[in-house]
Every structure is written in structure tokens, then in C-alpha cells.
């Protein structure tokens, strides 16, 4: 392992890039730890955002104004304000109020706040995609299903949802790639993700360019994985005559 790293460092040195920090065990471990934190952050927010998205989409399309209206307000506010400001409103304001209320027993770590805020933020985008998918299901399909004596629950789960998910899938995958990139804001409240680990390293040794290339490659890899999974799902769920 360390042999290959040395070969890599020497090869990079020929290109004029100083990657010697990967030979330093401390810097390497903090980077790996950061990468792991980013991956966990992505996984938690991915699941959380989908749950939030489904809930919000259900509220938006419920047809009940007392459910649809608050969901609509939430979606509009979330889509039209910066994630960083939302994160500050949650972490610096709500977290402060919570700490004042319960003292040091505050169970929410900065990591948890990032997961909550990004989940809700991306949930709003998922909800819009799912709502568009639900509305794209042709009315005649639903009428045909109800004439076959489907109950309203069966109609939702066996006809409307499967089609809506297929319609919404491309934009959901798009949102998820955006989500992966968005996890970089976690560094703003000192969650030790890969961006934060890189900042810590480049403030000590002046190798911003090398770390930037590493960061871009890492996020590129994560987006690529999400994209591949999305493509696989699209191909797997493809139904002749629906979607592309």
C-alpha cells in the first residue's frame, strides 16, 4: 500500500504536484476519515431526503388545503433560500434555543443538523418532482383502474405510484447528484467531512491545488456512482410506452 503511494507521489511530482502529504499518516487518516464522513452524510441525507420528499409530495397532492398549503409554503421557502442560510438558521438559532432549553443534554450534533437540513432541503425538490410525476399519470388510466374495481388505496399503490415514480426518476436522480455536492456545506459548521479535512490540511501545508484536484475527483466519483445507480434503476423500471 505505502509502496504504491510513494510511486504515486513521485509520479505526481513529475507533473509539478506535491502530494507528499498522503505519505504522512496523520494527514492521510484525517482525509480518509473525512471521506468516510462524507459518504455517511450522503447515505443518511439520501434516505432522509427521499422520506421527506414522499411525505411532502403526499401532502401536496392530498387535495386537503390544510395539508397542501403548509407543504406548499415550506417547499417555496426552501427552494428560494440558500442552503447555507437554512443551515445557520437551524444550527446557530434552533440549536442555540434547544441548548438553552435542555442544557448540555442537547442530543443533536452538528452532523445530525446537517442531515436534517439537507434532507428537508432536498426533500422539497424531490416533492416537486414526485408531484409532477403524480400529476403526469393520465386521468384515463386512473378511470380505467377504478372501473376495474380498484379501491382508492389500491389505485394509489398499484397504479398511480408505480407510474409516478417512473416519471419522476430522472429528476430524482438529478436531485440526488445535487445532494452529494451539497454535503460540502457541512464544513461550514465544522462537521469533519472531506472538505473540512482538506481545509485543515491546506491551512498547515500550502498545497491547495493538489487537495482541490483530490476533492473534485472524490465528488466526481460519488456523483458518478449515484448516476450509475440511477441509470440502472431507470433501465430496470422501464415500461414500454412510459417515459423514455
Amino acid at each position: 500500500m505505502s509502496h504504491w503511494l510513494e510511486v504515486f507521489v513521485q509520479w505526481a511530482a513529475k507533473l509539478g504536484l506535491n502530494y507528499s502529504f498522503v505519505l504522512d499518516a496523520y494527514a492521510r487518516d484525517s482525509l480518509l476519515q473525512g471521506a468516510l464522513t462524507t459518504v455517511w452524510l450522503c447515505l443518511f441525507t439520501l434516505v432522509g431526503s427521499l422520506l421527506a420528499g414522499v411525505t411532502l409530495a403526499a401532502m401536496l397532492t392530498s387535495g386537503k388545503p390544510w395539508l397542501a398549503r403548509p407543504a406548499r409554503v415550506f417547499v417555496e421557502v426552501t427552494r428560494n433560500t440558500p442552503t447555507l442560510v437554512q443551515l445557520y438558521c437551524a444550527f446557530l438559532v434552533l440549536n442555540m434555543l434547544l441548548t438553552q432549553a435542555v442544557g448540555t443534554a442537547n442530543p443533536l450534533t452538528p452532523f445530525a443538523w446537517v442531515v436534517i437540513v439537507i434532507s428537508l432541503h432536498k426533500g422539497a425538490f424531490h416533492a416537486e418532482a414526485l408531484r409532477a410525476g403524480i400529476e403526469a399519470v393520465p386521468a384515463v388510466t386512473l378511470e380505467a383502474a377504478s372501473s376495474l374495481a380498484f379501491s382508492s388505496r389500491q389505485l394509489l399503490w398499484n397504479v398511480q405510484m408505480p407510474l409516478a415514480v417512473r416519471f419522476a426518476l430522472p429528476s430524482l436522480v438529478n436531485n440526488l447528484i445535487d445532494l452529494v455536492k451539497m454535503t460540502a456545506v457541512a464544513s461550514a459548521i465544522a462537521v469533519g467531512d472531506i472538505t473540512y479535512a482538506s481545509i485543515m490540511i491546506w491551512t498547515q501545508s500550502d498545497n491547495v491545488l493538489e487537495l482541490m484536484i483530490l476533492l473534485l475527483a472524490f465528488f466526481g466519483l460519488l456523483s458518478f456512482v449515484v448516476n450509475c445507480v440511477g441509470r440502472f434503476l431507470e433501465a430496470r423500471l422501464r415500461m414500454p410506452g412510459y417515459g423514455h
Partner: protein, 227 residues
């Protein structure tokens, strides 16, 4: 106590306005640079020669897939503090670097919007105009581009709103913008009620600026949907 908080907020409001103006300035410059660069790259991306298409594709892929925050750190730390222009040292302020950091992904997105708009014009129009003996340049100028601008407007406005929200990241590299001002105010006044108020005011300011743009975009999308 409520009156005290409101009074403190009123006292800080000129500073907040100055900070927000910095955000708006960054966003306007970034979309201007990004649009010019993006149209150029978009034009390269639709050219029939692969030698010009390939660099354009790489540019778009790299800058669309990079997190904005990472790009902002990139431009802030990689560019020098001063520039040597014609024997003079000219300061290269951080907010200009942030503007460039936002203009890079903006250009990649504009290029994609441009490519998408050109791709959305039916191929039959190309064939019809070629059969009327228009040259390639003439087809672009007189037939394709006028239709493209109409189609590009809604996604372009959407991009502008997203960039405006992206300017919030400027505070992380030490630009004295709205969020930075809010943090200073919150630390100076140091009262719970004030901290709550000021951060939600920041949220409200961004919302008031971006929501009308988003509504207008939706309106235009609906208007141009079937024409």
C-alpha cells in the same frame, strides 16, 4: 424586550443592506461572465468538429459536477492576492475571486441550456431552411437563434436565482456579505432574541429577492410551453 430587539435590528439594517448589495453585485457579475463564457462554450459544444466539441464537453462535465463550495475555495486560494498588470500591482479582492468561482459553474450550466435549446428546435427546420439555400451561418442567425433565446430565458432566470443563493457561500471565504454581517451583528449584540431575528431576516431577504424571479420563471415557462 421585543422593542429592544426590533430597535437593534433597525440599527443594523443599513449594514445588512450593504451586505446584501454585495451578494447581489456578485450574483449579477457572475451571471454576466457566466453567460458570455457559457454561450461561447455552448457554441463550441454544438459545432460539427469534434476537436472543438471535446474541450467544451469536458468543461461542462467538470464544472457541472463540482460542488460550488469547492470551486469557490478553489478560486479563492489558487488565485494570487495581487495581479501584476503593466508594471503595477493591482489588488485582486476576494469578492472578485468568488464571482469567478460562481461564474465557472454558471458558464457550464449556460452552455448546457444553450445546447438544450438548440437541440429542442425540430430537425425539420434545419432541413427546410437548407432546402431554401440558407447557409449554416444564416440558418443559425435568422432561424435557430431567435427561437432559442425564448426557450433559454426561463432556465436562465432559474440559474440566476440559484447563483444568487450560491453567493451565500461567499461568507465562508471571508467576503463581507449579508451573512457575514449577520454573524458580526449577532456576536456584537449577543442577545438570543436578536440572533433569532437576524438569521430569519437573512432568510427572508433572500426569499424576497428570489421568489419573484422563480414565479416569473414559472409564468414564462407556462407561456412558452406550446409555442
Amino acid at each position: 424586550m421585543v422593542i429592544e430587539t426590533a430597535g437593534a435590528l433597525w440599527e443594523w439594517s443599513p449594514a445588512l443592506a450593504t451586505g446584501f448589495w454585495q451578494n447581489i453585485l456578485i450574483s449579477l457579475l457572475a451571471i454576466a461572465i457566466g453567460s458570455l463564457l457559457g454561450l461561447l462554450i455552448g457554441a463550441l459544444a454544438v459545432s460539427p468538429l469534434w476537436i472543438t466539441r471535446l474541450p467544451a464537453r469536458i468543461w461542462v462535465q467538470v464544472f457541472r459536477n463540482a460542488p460550488w463550495l469547492v470551486l469557490i475555495y478553489f478560486t479563492t486560494y489558487v488565485f494570487p492576492f495581487e495581479l501584476h498588470i503593466g508594471g503595477h500591482w493591482v489588488a485582486f479582492p476576494d469578492w472578485v475571486k468568488v464571482t469567478i468561482g460562481l461564474a465557472l459553474p454558471a458558464s457550464a450550466n449556460v452552455a448546457e441550456i444553450f445546447r438544450g435549446a438548440i437541440g429542442s428546435i425540430p430537425g425539420t427546420q434545419w432541413e427546410a431552411s437548407r432546402s431554401l439555400a440558407f447557409t449554416r451561418g444564416q440558418i443559425f442567425r435568422s432561424i435557430i437563434l431567435p427561437q432559442c433565446f425564448k426557450r433559454m430565458l426561463p432556465p436562465w432566470m432559474n440559474l440566476y436565482a440559484v447563483i444568487t443563493m450560491g453567493t451565500a457561500l461567499a461568507s465562508l471565504v471571508g467576503v463581507h456579505d449579508l451573512i457575514d454581517t449577520a454573524q458580526i451583528a449577532s456576536n456584537t449584540v449577543n442577545r438570543t432574541g436578536f440572533t433569532v431575528m437576524i438569521y430569519f431576516s437573512v432568510l427572508a431577504l433572500f426569499f424576497v429577492y428570489c421568489y419573484p424571479i422563480s414565479r416569473l420563471t414559472q409564468h414564462l415557462e407556462r407561456r412558452y410551453a406550446f409555442s
